[in-house]
Amino acid sequence: MNFVLVEGGGVETPPILRKILRLRKIALILAGIAAWYYASVVLNPENMENTRISEHSLMPGLVTAKFDKTSMIAQIFSDLSENPKNIQKTICGYFHKWDLSCHSQKFRSNVPGIQISGENVYAWIRGSRNDGGEAQLIGVKIGGGRKKSEAELRNLIIAQVMAFAYYAKDQVYWSRDILFVFIDATSNSDDSTNFAFDAFLQEYHLTHSNYSTPTTVIHAEQLKEQCGLLIAGIVYEPVKWPRKSKKDTRIMSAAMNGINGQQANLDLFNSAAKIAHQKLSAGMALFGIYQDPHSYSTQAWPYLIPLRAIYGQGFVAVEGLHSVLGKYSVPALTIGLDHTMGPENGIFIESMCRMLNNALERLHQSYFMYILGDDMHFASIAYYLPILGIISAPLLISAYAEWREIQQIRLSPFIYIAHIIGALQFTGATYAYANFGAKIFDTNLAQLFILSSIIPFGLIYNFVVLARKSAENQAEIRFTRLFLQLLTCLMLGCLGLVNFGLALFGAIFAVPLVFVMTFESTSRARSYIRTIFLFFANPIFLLTFSAINLQQYLEYPQKVGENAIFDLNLAENLIYRAIREHLLFGSAHFALFCLFAQPVWNLLFLTAISTTNNEIDDEKMKKE
């Protein structure tokens, strides 16, 4: 291509770019409509890919299962029901009787804010063809249950898993050890159960203070026996009967979301779904819903499962016990078994074990990024990631417009200050919670955090430092606009690759907010109005508002929060949960909130309240 020197040494913008820049004011609306339309096509299960077992080595899951120890289920169930206070001993008693090793492990919390203790049980079937290098894990909850029927259901699942152990011990084809972990769930709280499982896993992976990272959260007994790398883990629990399902349909359930947007390997889920379909004629309920893939019209809204999948990935760090395994890079699923299918459940467990027994390689990175439409369909990252790109496009266009106009790069000191404030909030809150608990000098920690979060430091900085309308200050504000637009795009893009759900929901709020607050305003009144709006668009407020309303929109049965707009108790609970999940499982929600959302909110005050005389001139651009 030929190039000529432009008259006067200026820049000649290509016509297409001039058109794009002229559309800047309505880009947000256009992008919103485009993203909505694109998402409605991509997230419709009818347009998604079919699930399949792509690895041939996993096919043994589909061979004829020979589980035949159904009579043992009743015997074990009866013993467990008779000794509800000695479940650990009863379980180990059986394993010892079968000449299999079984041990218990006591644990407790070291953190004042988390008062948990208990006792896990673990047992082994050593694969005779194994060299000790690999194992697969089967997890089950023991004890607890809020109602008697719930406790009985748990005992039934324990009995079914143990009956499988009784069957499996006599098989010679195991090339990986099978590790059974019975997780203490006596306290009936999900946090405690997750904590109990983590206590076992941290000792299994030797990640406690005696060996590597100094963690003080969990104190647990050392394991008496060990094995090698865990190839995968399956946690079994009674199925949570989904709504909107026919009574005559056999339904199991699967949960696959993990910490920080992790998902179970798609091969693992596909194989479980295929085994359920082919051997048990059962469907898989996902996120509390069962949707018959052959009749969407008669069933629920087809977008409900994909939307719940995105929501769950974004906000539910620990969806089930399997999520804890994600912390240790072990692909895992929680499978809900229908207690009425005794022998069939044994067949299902056997098939899953035989599948994992034969896997040639670790279930690796290929299929960790997907959105499920139902148990038979999924959308791959290549199809759904552009939604985020389309939503973020207005910010990129704005950033380009700013870049064209910018005269000098002048980094605002408040960029550093805002991030330092966020870092202090993060370290202060986590340190205080870990060392003193939820109360500090009779003051609620969450309330202190909320108070520190709603102070508009950006506004104060603006009035104190940027009050004078000098050219330097104008340059600082202009560059802050560009910085915020690019920072938001970059963060959303990076987050989208790891946790698409969080990035998408974040983008829905962040993109319009950043777009509007960084748009040049020539009117002082407009600037003041948007600043007031910004004050109320505090991340804590948005988070609480979303928690109350998103769940209703996604048809979750439980009601969240008392008030439809803001609930202080809910906000406090959300903050405590985020800190707890960070401390226990390394969830990044709290860090993202403090180190990204809060600084951006504070920085937006600088641009929202500012007015400018030289708005990017559309007429000038037209002439050009």
Partner: protein
Amino acid sequence: MYRIFLLFTLCFAKEEYWENLKLDRVSENELKAEFRFGASRENLKNERDFEVFPRILDELIEEYDVKYLLVIMGQGRWKDDKWGRKTQPGAVHGAQVYADFEANSEEGADKKLRFLIEALNGILCTSLSQISLITSPQLEIFKRPKYSTSQQIFRRYGILSRETTCTENLTRLRKLLACRQSGISILLHPSKLYDVLYHASHLIVKKNEKISEMEVGITAVFKNKNPIQGSNWLLSSIFESKLSSSCGIATKSQIEANNQIYDVKNLETSFDIEITSKPISNEAKLVKGWTSQGGSDQQNGILHISLQNGDLDSKLEVSQILPYFVQPRYAKISFKNCQITRKALQTSKNEKSSALLQYEIIIKSGEKCEITIPFDKKILRLDDYPPDANHGMHIPAAVIFVSQKSDSYTIHTNPILVALPVPDFSMPFNVICFVATAFALIFGPLQLYSTMWLAPSPPRSTFWRKINRLILLILIVLCLYAHFMEINLNEVRRGIEQYLEKLNELR
């Protein structure tokens, strides 16, 4: 005639051959079978005729100046608690090679060793080429002969955890035996010997000034598949063949079972026995060792060796090989309840050689010693990954030579599988690459046009541009047509080929 025969035999080197089978019930439903076949030969100069000693092994000894060679292959897990002490020399999962041989220098020894390994691959049908042999382990690993100090002996030892043992290895081991179709070797039935809980085989070659010796050993632990029908074992049913002919040239041919020794050297009729003895009691507690792996990330990990002593005070010589793909943090190696009397650390010489950590530990009866070795995982070059890179790579088992008051033996821990950082060439990686490339292609010109002081000048002649656009448009339309009509590319290709063939015919 007799004098001629005597004269003839005196000219040959003296050779001997013996065979032994030991059967022990190790639990109610499990039986251990231990085969040992041995041959020895007097070392006479210029004598190249062989009767029972395998000629190929003699050539190996001569060519590589071997003093002691041990190759062990194992598969399965040995249950110390139930089965007692492991059959010696102890086999680890995979293959082990230990060699003492003479050479002029270190370089000469390394060169000799490379050829020796390849020769072993040929003799035993193994694939040991990838084994990384450690130079001169300083502590004991196996019971081995003593040598006179005048000889310059080089020692090499290595483990290949991924090596699997199969019927091919058994066939080659049988070929080393003097009696292949008679005697106890008839019972070496591959389909039975590999359908077991545990299988190990070994080859030992020794040479001193007077005599060369060879031993082939095979150990298998069988499981009774029908325990309800009775737990007694018939020799013929275990191996699916009856012992019907004896090995005439063997000096000793014995079967040990039911606390008796049955001589099967001069068999006239088919021989069968029922193993009725009670399972051997393993009340005496042995030294046990196991390895566990710590860490869950892709940067580093922990190797944790636990050693539990039995009833007697013991001296343990622990040897742990660390392959090239892990880098131990020597300064952070820690010990718990271990009284260390001697250390010998050998770091890896180059990028592909392994490191060897050896510790001599005194441990009192009933005590437990723990060794923690933190390590960093290396990011390998692309060529260094095996085809199944995501399977992980093995750190070999630790070998523990146990010395007690009147006894010494070797045990092993288990190998561990390390998940190394693997480059991801899968779908998300491609998506990121393609998207990033697309963005670069879009924003590159965007950035260029908006910041350069030069602006593009469109060519004045538009005729060729129009032609180009037309061609592109036709191509796009064709592609879309092919896509929506679901036209298979192969069909198109076949169509073109047929068309070209017709054209050729026309000529």
